[in-house]
């Protein structure tokens, strides 16, 4: 009976210890994800609801195979939760598995946040969001589809449901690349970010290009500036774009040319990361310990410096202690009474006991 109570108590405790769960209300960060998954159970109809948002895909309906193209996704009319967060998927299908555009031959050169993910999370205080991916079109020719999907919370969402929206496929005709078409080399990816203040050159690899020019601009700037470009080897270019500070994202556009034909590619961007921190664990411990020692030594010296004469340390109170003990001894021996009936013994009236007289016993012996 006792063991049953213990087992039931343990089970009850464990059940009560569980917390109510909601899916990831703060988002899960940019990553590569399939449709509806998003790191949660949003595919479950009991946990999700259709989003009122209107989603629109905007891209050229024709692309040459293996060339850079831009896809813009505009989302409007949604009502977001307090954190103003919306997750946007760029998909090659809506099967629920292998939905990444790369599964269909596309290659992401840059996502809207500067990475190379097909799922990005955007914070927007307005109820309209427009984001762009830069892709390399598939090498395989024919019709390809691109889908977009969104997920978000809502301000008035008592059931903690995920709001899901999706588009139909946007059909893109992949046509054979014209002979000697100047474009980026397959596999080249735009750098995500540079360290603050770093002005080192960006390396761009191309195909069929005999000259390359690069324009750069800061966000919101209407006028673009030409960057310095130097060919360092065959189809490899070194581009100098000014260094950035803070959390600036600098935008740049590559224009590759072959003879008189030029291919103007979509605008890409590079973020700015914090400077590299070169502190080490051992260095931090040593620095901390040295600070302790220096402060302690300095304050001890100041205490000695300010110490007035006559303020003795507690460790030097030996004389006071000895005087107190001596006084206590004197009090004790002075209260003892000599007795003629019992020579060699003294009577203690406080403790009511006989005490050997030290003088007499010492004298006799």
């Amino acid at each position: 009976m006792k063991s049953r109570i213990i087992v039931v108590s343990i089970i009850l405790t464990l059940l009560l210890a569980t917390s109510s769960g909601v899916a990831n209300p703060g988002g899960k960060g940019d990553s590569n994800r399939d449709f509806t998954c998003g790191g949660s159970c949003h595919g479950d109809p009991s946990l999700s609801s259709p989003s009122p948002a209107e989603i629109q895909i905007d891209m050229k309906s024709t692309a040459f195979s293996g060339t850079a193209t831009e896809v813009s996704i505009s989302v409007s009319g949604m009502e977001l939760s307090n954190n103003d967060l919306i997750g946007i998927f760029l998909l090659g299908s809506k099967n629920g598995n292998n939905d990444h555009p790369e599964d269909y031959g596309w290659q992401i050169i840059q996502d809207p946040n500067g990475g190379t993910s097909n799922y990005v999370e955007i914070v927007s205080s307005e109820n309209t969001v427009t984001v762009s991916w830069v892709l390399l079109a598939p090498m395989e020719e024919g019709q390809k589809e691109i889908f977009a999907s969104i997920q978000h919370g809502s301000m008035y969402n008592h059931d903690n449901k995920a709001f899901i929206g999706e588009t139909d496929g946007f059909i893109v005709n992949i046509e054979p690349i014209p002979e000697n078409y100047p474009t980026l080399e397959e596999g080249w990816v735009s750098p995500d970010e540079r360290v603050s203040g770093d002005s080192s050159a960006i390396i761009i690899r191309t195909v069929n290009t005999d000259s390359l020019s690069v324009l750069w601009r800061l966000p919101g700037e209407s006028q673009s500036h030409e960057a310095s470009v130097e060919m360092i080897s065959d189809q490899e270019w070194e581009v100098s774009i000014p260094a950035t500070l803070g959390d600036t994202r600098i935008e740049y556009q590559i224009i590759s040319s072959m003879g008189e034909f030029s291919n103007q590619m979509p605008w890409l961007s590079i973020g700015t990361s914090d400077p590299y921190f070169d502190g080490t664990s051992l260095g931090a411990k040593l620095q901390s310990f040295s600070i302790i020692m220096i402060i302690f030594g300095f304050m001890l010296s100041l205490q000695t410096w300010f110490s007035p004469r006559g303020v003795s340390n507690l460790v030097d109170n030996t004389n006071e202690v000895e005087e107190t003990i001596s006084q206590q001894n004197n009090d004790y021996w002075s209260r003892l009474i000599k007795s003629d009936e019992n020579p060699g013994w003294l009577w203690d009236p406080v403790e009511k006991e006989w005490v050997a007289d030290p003088d007499l016993s010492r004298g006799e012996q």
Binding site: F277, G279, L286, I291, I295, F296, M299
Partner: protein, 192 residues
């Protein structure tokens, strides 16, 4: 480490509480020489401050070590590095406070220069602990109560000294402590 985070939360609470008690009681004990209403509480304030400073000196290193094991890269950024530096400052001033109290006992509050020094040790210790709490809050919550101040150090930057220079400073620090103790001895002998 498995229980480092909850242990760190607990020990940080203890060190912040003890450090605050040490600072406030020391300031009040110092004020008791000037404010007649506090004079009767001087002994109590001194004892409370003394006990709190001992607890602070025990909990601060524990908070440092548990904090070290609570994050994957404890010195990977300036904000974590600053925690080590301010922990060192807090421990330095707290141990100075305790040393002063042990050396001079309650008499320390009756001598203006020593009382001022003792109060400043406690005040700097308390300030360092407040900065440590503020850095911790910045790491976990992204904001701190001290953000309301118009001037506040930028915790995203830190002064990193080369390891060999730090080692040299450790030697200087240990030497200065030894010399201070020697000075104490010679001072005591001259008094006798």
């Amino acid at each position: 480490m498995m229980y480092a985070i909850p242990f760190h939360h607990m020990i940080v609470g203890l060190s912040a509480g003890a450090g605050t008690l040490m600072g406030i009681c020391a300031i009040l004990a110092w004020l008791s020489n000037r404010v007649s209403n506090l004079e009767s509480s001087k002994s109590t304030l001194d004892k409370a401050s003394y006990a709190a400073s001992i607890l602070t000196l025990v909990t601060l290193p524990l908070a440092m070590f548990s904090g070290y094991y609570s994050v994957s890269d404890p010195t990977g950024s300036a904000i974590f590095y600053n925690k080590f530096i301010f922990s060192g400052i807090a421990i330095g001033f707290t141990s100075s406070y305790i040393a002063g109290r042990i050396r001079y006992g309650t008499e320390i509050w009756n001598h203006p220069a020593l009382a001022n020094l003792q109060m400043l040790s406690a005040l700097f210790g308390l300030t360092s602990i407040m900065i440590l709490g503020s850095i911790g809050s910045k790491i976990t919550l992204g904001e701190s109560t001290l953000d309301i101040l118009p001037l506040w150090p930028e915790f995203m930057n830190s002064i990193v000294i080369n390891q060999w220079v730090s080692l040299f400073l450790v030697i200087i620090g240990v030497s200065s402590v030894i010399i201070s103790f020697k000075m104490m001895d010679s001072s005591n002998k001259s008094q006798i």
